[in-house]
């Protein structure tokens, strides 16, 4: 099977869905780039080249470079979706959602409900998140917990290139607004990705490792760190189950509770801040609905309740590391023994 990067997998998903369905359009800041400069067309393909090559293939009518006005183009994408197109809008960094959130949470997320199911909003907002890119406090946040909080939005965090392609095609075919989170530190990571189109359903977690001693529940880039820890501990005869929740909304409660109950020792890993987060949500779920199976308090491994630092040394300490995850697993394993 061919190996492709996270970036290539996302580009391929967009290309194949644009070929399949003429209603799929792209819009965002510099998703092509170079407009009006002879010889510079498609100069950018997005800030990290993810959409490169799509404008030459599909034309400027379907790959729209927008002004630097998120409130305008996210609003336009919401309107285009509700009137029959299937836009994929790129919100360059999720950190910028503040200027267009009304269009997302009070418009797109509400249409289906408020119009009695007669309106559909098949919109995808692709956005970059996460620390590790030396991009400082305003370009490094996670923030997916804020979108997860809003009923009517679906929230997706692909953990590798294979997941990215299947989840993005699913997102484009979904009739509800989907916020698709791409970790900017993962674009060059490779995985085996089929050439054919395929879909991964929302709300179905992926158990990436199986072991009987402890359970790690993770999302996005943290899944890879958790897998690494599970592989290390497996060599020491400690079995760790790793659950990639894939989508924070809808949430696969069934798999989380089943795997939590099997080991009774649970660690939740979330790159985001520790308060009102996906980690606290999952910890609360396990505490409420799997309490009788727990052998130890649920542990969370998260970033601190602080902005992402610009200092590289501090930024590296800020991100949950495999070493911290490993310590947390050892702590839940030691509890009560």
């Amino acid at each position: 099977m061919p190996k492709k990067t996270y970036r290539q997998a996302i580009n391929e998903a967009l290309r194949q869905e644009m070929e399949r369905d003429p209603r799929v359009i792209l819009m965002g800041e510099d998703v092509a780039g170079g407009m009006g400069s002879p010889g510079e067309d498609d100069a950018w393909g997005g800030p990290l080249g993810v959409t490169k090559g799509l404008m030459p293939r599909f034309g400027r009518e379907r790959v729209l470079d927008t002004p630097i006005t998120e409130s305008a183009f996210i609003g336009a994408a919401v309107g285009a979706a509700v009137t029959g197109l299937r836009p994929v809008a790129e919100l360059m960094f999720v950190d910028f959602f503040g200027v267009c959130f009304d269009q997302i949470f009070n418009q797109a997320a509400k249409f289906r409900y408020m119009f009695g199911g007669k309106a559909r909003t098949p919109l995808v907002i692709r956005t970059m998140y996460g620390a590790g890119f030396r991009a400082a406090s305003q370009h490094s946040q996670c923030l997916y917990s804020i979108f997860t909080h809003i009923p009517g939005l679906k929230v997706v965090l692909p953990s590798n290139a294979y997941e990215a392609k299947g989840l993005l095609i699913q997102a484009i075919r979904d009739d509800d607004p989907v916020i698709f989170f791409e970790h900017k530190a993962m674009y060059d990571e490779e995985a085996e990705v089929p050439d054919e189109p395929y879909t991964i359903p929302f709300g179905e977690a992926n158990v990436t490792r199986e072991g009987g001693d402890a359970t790690i529940i993770a999302m996005g880039r943290m899944v890879n760190f958790a897998n690494q820890v599970a592989d290390e501990l497996a060599k020491e005869n400690i079995g760790v189950t790793v659950v990639d929740i894939r989508t924070t909304s809808p949430l696969d409660k069934e798999t989380i509770l089943e795997t939590a109950a099997e080991t009774g020792r649970v660690v939740v890993v979330d790159e985001s801040h520790p308060r009102c987060s996906v980690a606290t949500d999952i910890a609360a779920l396990v505490a409420q609905e799997a309490f009788e199976h727990l052998e130890a308090p649920v542990k969370m491994v998260t970033a601190p309740h602080a902005p992402v630092p610009f200092s590289p040394a501090l930024e590296d300490l800020y991100i949950p590391s495999p070493a911290r995850i490993r310590r947390a697993v050892q702590e839940v394993l030691a509890f009560g023994r």
Binding site: M1, Y162, G166, E192, P194, E196, P197, Y198, T199, I200, P201, E204, A205, N206, V207, E210, T255, E258
Partner: protein, 397 residues
């Protein structure tokens, strides 16, 4: 000159580059018979036992348990006790020098290709030379990699093709009515596209029924028929398997379904489950499989049955069945025409060709005639299979 035999890391499947030697079952100095279990090999996708390619004494174990080494690496050396130690050392040194030269060819390994047929394309893997070719047809929900333990062995002496049936693997998800005669027409179209006038057909389960359909309707295209737990010889099929296979979208739900295929559930690795899920996620795959299942099976009953027509078969025919088959009862292999040689293998489930690969390969070599060339010459897996050393099986007649 088969005094010294190399035991090498086998190549099981297209993507296998290296394998973990998980455990040795023999020690240096121990005498082993051909077919004896030597060691456990694990990759990210598969775990299986490596059986001894020859009889002899284990003179050297060169890779300790727990090590991961590339495909083709020398794991152990077998030889008669009278072979002198310096000769063994020279063999090891020469083998290693030779493999150091050949590692540069790693990128040239065979890859699947496609042929266009009406309504879509068929993915296939071709290995070996020698006419007429062998055509492997996998079962419901499988793909050409199901033959990973068999095709490289049989390809030592003849041309072989393993193909993905319509709706499966990398083939188009176009299955017309999904019936066995319909799938047989697609396989014949692929044979036409490959200019294969006549082939030995080796079919497993649904693929066995397709092979039977071709042999009954187009006997001139079939040199012989080897059927492994084929559909079509009795009324029953485990509907829990078919329904569970179609319904499962999570690995934890699919695993118990796939474990029904084997006698030893350890053979079902996490990666194997994941690969099946990935194949089912491809656009069109699920509906293609549902169409085939609806056309071929109704609940726990098979719709297409040809037991009454077996006497019409004109080509040499053999049937192999795992005694612990939980999908299609082994009883379907009883009371067949006397011209058909039947082998029932103990300790094997429905995936008999994966679970008892060495036995099935020996039976197929014996049936097809002509001993294979040493697999080690091709750098793929174990060495020669001696038909006379075929395992003891329950031969009906």
């Amino acid at each position: 000159m088969a005094e010294i035999t190399a035991v090498v890391m086998p190549k099981w499947g297209l993507s296998m580059q290296e394998g973990l030697l998980a455990a040795w079952y023999v020690a240096e100095g121990e005498r082993v018979e051909k077919g004896r279990e030597l060691c456990d090999i694990e990759t990210s996708k598969i775990a299986n036992v490596l059986e001894s390619p020859a009889s002899g004494v284990v003179r050297r174990i060169l890779v300790p348990a727990g090590s991961t080494v590339p495909v083709g690496a020398l794991l152990a050396v077998l030889a008669a006790p009278e072979v002198e130690d310096p000769a063994i050392d020279a063999f090891v040194a020469e083998f290693r020098a030779r493999s150091a030269e050949t590692t540069v060819r790693a990128g040239e390994e065979p890859r699947p290709r496609f042929v266009e047929v009406e309504g879509g394309r068929i993915r296939l893997l071709e290995l070996g030379t020698g006419e007429p070719p062998v055509l492997f047809l996998h079962g419901f929900g499988g793909d050409l990699e199901n033959w990973m333990f068999n095709q490289p062995e049989l390809a030592c002496a003849r041309r072989t093709f393993a193909l993905d049936l319509p709706g499966h693997g990398g083939s188009s998800k176009v299955v017309s009515d999904g019936s066995i005669p319909g799938l047989a027409r697609a396989v014949l179209a692929a044979m036409d596209a490959l200019a294969i006038a006549r082939a030995h057909l080796v079919g497993h389960s649904l693929g066995g029924a397709i092979a039977l359909a071709i042999a009954l309707d187009r006997p001139e295209r079939v040199a012989s028929l080897a059927l492994l737990a084929p559909v079509g010889l009795g009324p029953e099929i485990a509907k829990e398997y078919i329904e569970g296979f179609l319904a499962a979208t999570r690995a934890r739900r699919l695993r118990p379904v796939l474990e029904m295929l084997v006698h030893d559930p350890k053979l079902v690795t996490a990666e194997m489950v994941e690969n099946v899920l990935r194949a089912k996620r491809l656009d069109g795959a699920r509906s293609a499989l549902e169409t085939i299942a609806a056309a071929c099976f109704e609940g726990d009953r098979q719709r297409w049955q040809v037991r009454a027509r077996l006497a019409e078969l004109r080509c040499p025919t053999t049937i192999v069945w795992g005694e612990d088959d939980r999908i299609l009862p082994v009883a379907h292999s009883r009371d067949l025409p006397g011209s058909i040689a039947v082998h029932r293998l103990p300790g094997a489930g429905h995936l008999v060709h994966m679970e008892k690969a060495a036995e099935v390969n020996a039976l197929l070599e014996d049936f097809l005639g002509g001993p294979g060339r040493a697999a080690t010459e091709l750098g793929i897996g174990e060495a020669t299979i001696d038909p006379s050393a075929a395992p003891r099986v329950d031969r009906d007649r």
